[in-house]
């Protein structure tokens, strides 16, 4: 009664059928492989719409069959059966038997459905998860501080020595010594910019001498330590997270644990101690470079001789300004180190997870460094420093 073919070239997949009353006999031929996947799916789907009570599919003319073609045949048979049709394959060549039998066993059990709920529920769930993640972060931070403190106390009580001196010196070289050029450059430029901007505005009031106060107080109290901390968070914090993370991925952390060693003691403590010693030194050097940058601009742009600059600086800043800056440095180092190590130990098995935790490490430590700076500002003004 009805016939359907689509002829293009001999090895194209074909499916033609004839209906005799209630009986539908389909004949498949050509190449039934993945390269023709799209066309094959349309062919088998068109078979799907034929009204018949019995469907017979003859595949003896199929020249080549792979998993894709075989699955489509299997799917057509299943769909026919699901519509209460009697479906069967006819003239199955021996070489296709096993593949069809293998596919007959697949896609029978549906995977467990994902948790129900619309996009709103998913969004709310994500929101809730991220809020509770903030709490988890805080707990993890405090736990890391505790673990670091205990590891350090343990060292002091058992063998009074700096934690793993050799490792610590190695990390100290990486985070401090090797960072000196870039820190000097950046703080120098920042000092120069502040002096230039200060001169520009103070000149309007004829108060250009006060640029020394501006540069001196700002650099020593706030900027040197802040810029150094942000640089170190980006430079060393990210490196710590990536190192610990890839060690976690390669089960090196587990290896340490099975040897009865504490990864906090072996890996985290030397890094954090190196930061705690390194950051004040970098802050000191950074402050010098910023003052130098400011003095240079005051000389070149404002015509203030270096000797005058130094003399005014001695009047403008007190020792407490310097102390305020330098006291903050080890605290910020502790935060950067703790965040970096916490995030590093949180890395899961995948490469993406390593990237996520490294990003989180840098973002969180910079955020916390700035928040901490704010808290210090309140504290120091309260005690009158």
């Amino acid at each position: 009664m009805a016939a359907s073919t689509s002829v293009t070239s001999p090895s194209d997949p074909l499916l033609s059928w004839t209906t005799h009353g209630d009986q539908l006999s389909a004949v498949a031929s050509g190449v039934w492989t993945c390269a023709n996947g799209d066309r094959l799916e349309r062919l088998t789907d068109s078979l799907d719409r034929q009204p018949a009570s019995t469907v017979t599919l003859d595949i003896s003319g199929v020249e080549a069959l792979d998993t894709f073609g075989a699955w489509l045949i299997e799917r057509a048979v299943r769909q026919a059966k699901s519509r209460k049709q009697t479906a069967q394959l006819a003239a199955v060549p021996d070489r296709y038997h096993d593949l069809l039998a293998a596919l007959d066993r697949t896609n029978r059990r549906a995977a467990a459905a994902p948790a129900a709920g619309g996009p709103l529920a998913a969004w709310l769930a994500a929101l809730g998860a991220s809020v509770s993640a903030i709490g988890d972060d805080l707990v993890a931070m405090v736990a890391m501080f505790g673990a670091l403190t205990f590891a350090q106390l343990d060292r002091f009580t058992k063998r009074p020595q700096l934690a793993r001196a050799r490792d610590t010196v190695h990390h100290f070289e990486r985070v401090s010594w090797q960072a000196i050029p870039i820190i000097l450059l950046i703080t120098f430029v920042v000092g120069a910019i502040i002096a230039q901007q200060g001169l520009f505005y103070f000149r309007k009031f004829g108060a250009q001498d006060y640029v020394v106060n501006l540069v001196g107080v700002l650099v020593l109290r706030e900027l040197a330590v802040l810029i150094v901390a942000i640089m170190v968070a980006g430079r060393s914090g990210s490196a710590f997270t990536a190192e610990l993370g890839s060690m976690k991925m390669r089960e090196e952390i587990d290896a340490l644990r099975t040897m009865g060693l504490d990864p906090i003691d072996v890996l985290a403590l030397p890094r954090v101690v190196a930061l705690v010693f390194g950051l004040p030194i970098l802050t000191f050097l950074g402050g010098l470079a910023a003052l130098f940058g400011g003095a240079l601009i005051a000389w070149l742009d404002g015509g203030m001789s270096p000797a005058t600059f130094i003399a005014r600086l001695q009047d403008a800043v007190s020792l407490s300004d310097f102390e305020v800056g330098i006291i903050k440095a080890p605290c910020m180092a502790l935060v950067i180190g703790a965040v970096a190590c916490t995030e590093g130990l949180r890395v899961e098995g995948s490469a993406v997870s390593l990237g996520i935790q490294t990003t989180a490490s840098v973002v969180k430590s910079i955020f916390l460094v700035i928040v901490l700076d704010g808290l210090f500002a309140i504290f120091f003004s309260a005690i009158g420093m």
């Binding site: 993945c34 998993t67 096993d98 293998a102």
Partner: protein
């Protein structure tokens, strides 16, 4: 598909591979015919994996020629590499699943790159492959880090088979599998071979697997192939390493099981 039927699908001639001054393979020649399953055996460090990686174009060779489906992957154009890459599947020793994709996404990855298929068909065939390698459908949405070693390997095999390749390269396929899983794996390879006309190049230590699956064995020693032939002929081999390897107690037990 238009590679001449008579020409071997893998052809290695006088291959020399050296790292700096350390020569690993020296004058190695080997043919693999279409539809056959070749097992490559050799001592640890004899260069089995180096041979495999050279075939795949991952290691540069110092001399000789290597052709896979008529093409040297190391010197191939991007286009040729693409066309051969589609017709070869590789199961790496550690699985090498993409860690940021779930199992089913891993299997779909080559399909997405090479084929124009509807989402539904791609998903269904990927699920079929996942079940064919013996994984539970519920494992499909898991990430590689959540899988055990054996499951990882099965998932990696499903990915290697994603495009129904003509040649399947297997690097120690059964090394992480328990006995039952290894048996299933062997059966699977045999089934796929029969139905798809698959050519299998298998580097392995598992002699039972060699006995059950391989038509032919190639033994690497002294930087070249010292024996090739059906497993039954291995007893006549003269090379001392081959004698020692196949004459050992473990080997005979394994081969007796394999032959059953």
């Amino acid at each position: 598909m238009d590679v001449a039927r008579h020409e071997p699908v893998i052809q290695v001639r006088d291959l020399v591979v050296a790292f700096d001054d350390r020569v690993v393979l020296d004058g190695l020649s080997l043919d693999v015919d279409r539809g056959e399953t070749l097992g490559v055996v050799g001592a640890s460090g004899a260069g089995k994996s180096v041979l495999l990686r050279t075939l795949l174009g991952l290691i540069p060779k110092s001399g000789g020629s290597v052709r896979v489906l008529g093409i040297d992957l190391r010197e191939a154009s991007v286009r040729e590499r693409h066309s051969v890459g589609r017709r070869c599947g590789t199961l790496f020793q550690q699985g090498a699943l993409f860690s940021s994709l779930s199992v089913v996404e891993n299997v779909q990855f080559p399909m997405r790159e090479y084929l124009h298929l509807s989402d539904r068909l791609r998903r269904e065939v990927a699920m079929a492959k996942i079940e064919m390698v013996g994984l539970d459908p519920n494992d499909a949405s898991k990430y590689p880090a959540q899988l055990s070693g054996g499951m990882n390997k099965r998932a990696a095999l499903a990915r290697a088979l994603a495009l129904d390749p003509e040649i399947l390269f297997l690097d120690e396929p059964t090394s992480d599998l328990d006995n039952i899983a290894a048996d299933e794996f062997d059966n699977l390879i045999r089934t796929l071979r029969r139905t798809l006309g698959l050519t299998v190049f298998m580097v392995t230590h598992d002699l039972a697997s060699v006995g059950r699956v391989c038509d032919r064995v190639a033994a690497i020693a002294d930087k070249l192939i010292v024996f090739t032939g059906p497993l039954a002929a291995v007893v006549q081999a003269q090379h001392p390493w081959v004698k020692a390897y196949f004459g050992g107690e473990r080997a005979r037990a394994a081969l007796a099981i394999g032959a059953r």
